[in-house]
Symmetry: C2
Subunit: 343 residues, 2 copies
DNA sequence: TTGTAGGCGTTATCAG
DNA sequence: CTGATAACGCCTACAA
């Protein structure tokens, strides 16, 4: 004999409601609501009854009803410039890991490196009344800024550091990282040092800036050796840009690529062209993607703390959501130069 | 003199409502609602008034209220097994491109190659009452199946073809693709042919199966040369598995890797070990990731139609949402062997 | 600690 | 073609 249980097949409506759970548990809807939300004012015994009723019915809250009633959804939104870059996938992953135990859903938005798409996403997500927002960098439209300000919703900025506006941010100094690469190439006695960057997002430009300044200081800067293109960064593009650069300026003996994928392309093309790395040219990448430890030769790169950034940004956002008054608004997580064979 | 306009700064509430838009437009809320939803029964003139009022107020619908009232959100959910695989990013991208013009938001779920995580995601997303669901493959828990069935929500399955259950699916035959690779290596006169697969998801196993069967038919199958590991696929893992395999079975002269990243790792390791590809060993990958055209040597791979899969799956889902009775439930988009230098 | 009353912003239904 | 009315499922505020 099967145990007496609520027969789902007799339900006419699509899905059990809080009211039904309450009926089964023999309490009022509000008590059921409180019990399910883990509000401590509910007696242990009632809470147990409610939970087992919910279980029995297969009850899942209706997020729309909850959001409408409470004017707030159990959601945080993250907007990254790209999903094609493994970097941001890792950031998203750590954010998930922090948010999930708190019962917060993570909405993922891809702005495709466009300020306008980002603004649209922000508008869209704000409509959902998220608990908080995680954004990438500081480069956005005025409209987006106004939306954020008006919304009053907690917001943490990832990847770069704030230059004084007082935003909550978690990242590292892109400028310093660029400078560190220049330093490294200079220490390697390189004389004709190039920068190759694609995508031209704010962070790439800041890296280029730090790099350039350091070279200028060493009187070793040649603007002809700065290659910038708005095309999306990729291994194929790295091949192409490296070949072009070496053809035009054969004297180049050191190159900093704004992203590891470009650098990886360059290594492959060098192999094909018979250019020996690092003997003839030192190559340095950026981000230290997992595959960069396995290239031939292994790629020297700046390791960026993206997992930590995602985690700390998420934790910071949580504390803002809780209403904590934060002491430190800016968290510098640093970076590390991974010196390998390519330089 | 600035034009007379609604002064947002005097608003006490956070956000304009439909009612306010209606007031400004001088119509009833329901008319405003209809106008904004583009329901044709509204007079042109009123519609214009409503739209300009909405514009003026910066009105954005409250998705929660809409979902609650209509028992349906303007959302479709997609669940992929991983975001680390570029493959699925491309699928997501095409889905977006199809859904966005229809005003449908795309919820992205990452199941991390886990049936249990997938079930949780399905439960979570169904709670949101999406218009439809896009899932990857057919491998899922019984619980997930029941949820899907009970929900009655349109669902399209991506990447693989249905083996008779009558689901709506868009993909290609993983088994045939595996067989095609075997065929190719046999045609290259390879005698000691290995398979290397990681992750061991359903699709990888199906590829292995097709590959194995074709080799058996040619009496060229050696089970010792089938390397399977549950570890996540990566370039680093490819390096490692290739080195191990060549050490244990130096006579191997052809390898099919279940994913391009593994194959790319193998190419790098071969370079390091001084094993000439394809002279000593033919190497074939799977998926034809963008970078595979640039490896040294360039990688032979199966090009899978992931952009097309995303697009067609999204279109199919849209038509199911519209209530179309579909003639064809299964769409085979095929695959293509890209023969390059590595085989 | 529990319950009652009311409303969140929108849409479905049906009447005009 | 337009509008009044009543939900949708849940939560806040207050009362018991």
């Amino acid at each position: 004999m099967s145990p007496p249980r609520y027969d789902k097949s007799t339900r006419t409506k699509g899905r059990p409601t809080l009211k039904e759970v309450a009926q089964v548990a023999g309490v009022s809807p509000i008590t059921a609501s409180r019990a399910l939300r883990g509000i401590s004012s509910v007696t242990e015994e009632l809470a147990v009854r409610v939970h087992s009723a919910a279980e029995q019915l297969g009850y899942v809250v209706n997020p729309a009803a909850r959001a409408l009633a409470s004017a707030c959804s159990q959601t945080v939104a993250v907007i990254v410039p790209s999903l094609g870059n493994q970097l941001f996938i890792e950031v998203l992953e750590s954010i998930h890991q922090v948010m999930r135990p708190h019962g917060l859903e993570v909405l993922i938005g891809n702005a495709h490196y466009s300020r306008y798409e980002e603004e649209d996403l922000i508008r869209q997500y704000l409509a959902h009344q998220p608990q908080g927002l995680l954004l990438t960098g500081f480069e956005r439209t005025e409209g987006a800024r106004r939306l954020l300000e008006a919304s009053q919703i907690p917001c943490v900025y990832m990847m770069d550091l704030d230059s004084g506006v007082g935003l909550h941010c978690v990242g590292f100094s892109q400028v310093q990282a660029g400078a560190a690469v220049a330093e490294h190439l200079l220490a390697r006695q390189r004389k004709h040092i190039a920068f190759v960057g694609a995508q031209l997002d704010q962070r790439t430009l800041l890296r280029a800036e730090g790099f350039r300044h350091r070279l200028q200081k060493a009187r070793c800067y040649n603007p002809m050796l700065e290659v910038l293109t708005p095309q999306p960064s990729s291994i194929g593009l790295g091949c192409e840009l490296f070949a072009q650069l070496m053809q035009r300026y054969p004297q180049v003996d050191g190159i900093f690529f704004g992203n590891d994928d470009l650098a990886q392309g360059a290594l492959l093309e060098a192999l094909r062209m018979g250019i020996s790395i690092p003997q003839q040219v030192s190559i340095v990448g950026f981000n230290d993607l997992p595959s960069s430890a396995f290239t031939v030769p292994r790629l020297t790169s700046i390791r960026t703390p993206r997992a930590a950034i995602g985690q700390r940004a998420a934790e910071l956002l949580l504390s803002l959501i809780e209403g904590d008054t934060i002491g430190q608004r800016t968290q510098d997580l640093g970076f590390e130069l991974m010196v390998r064979e390519s330089s």
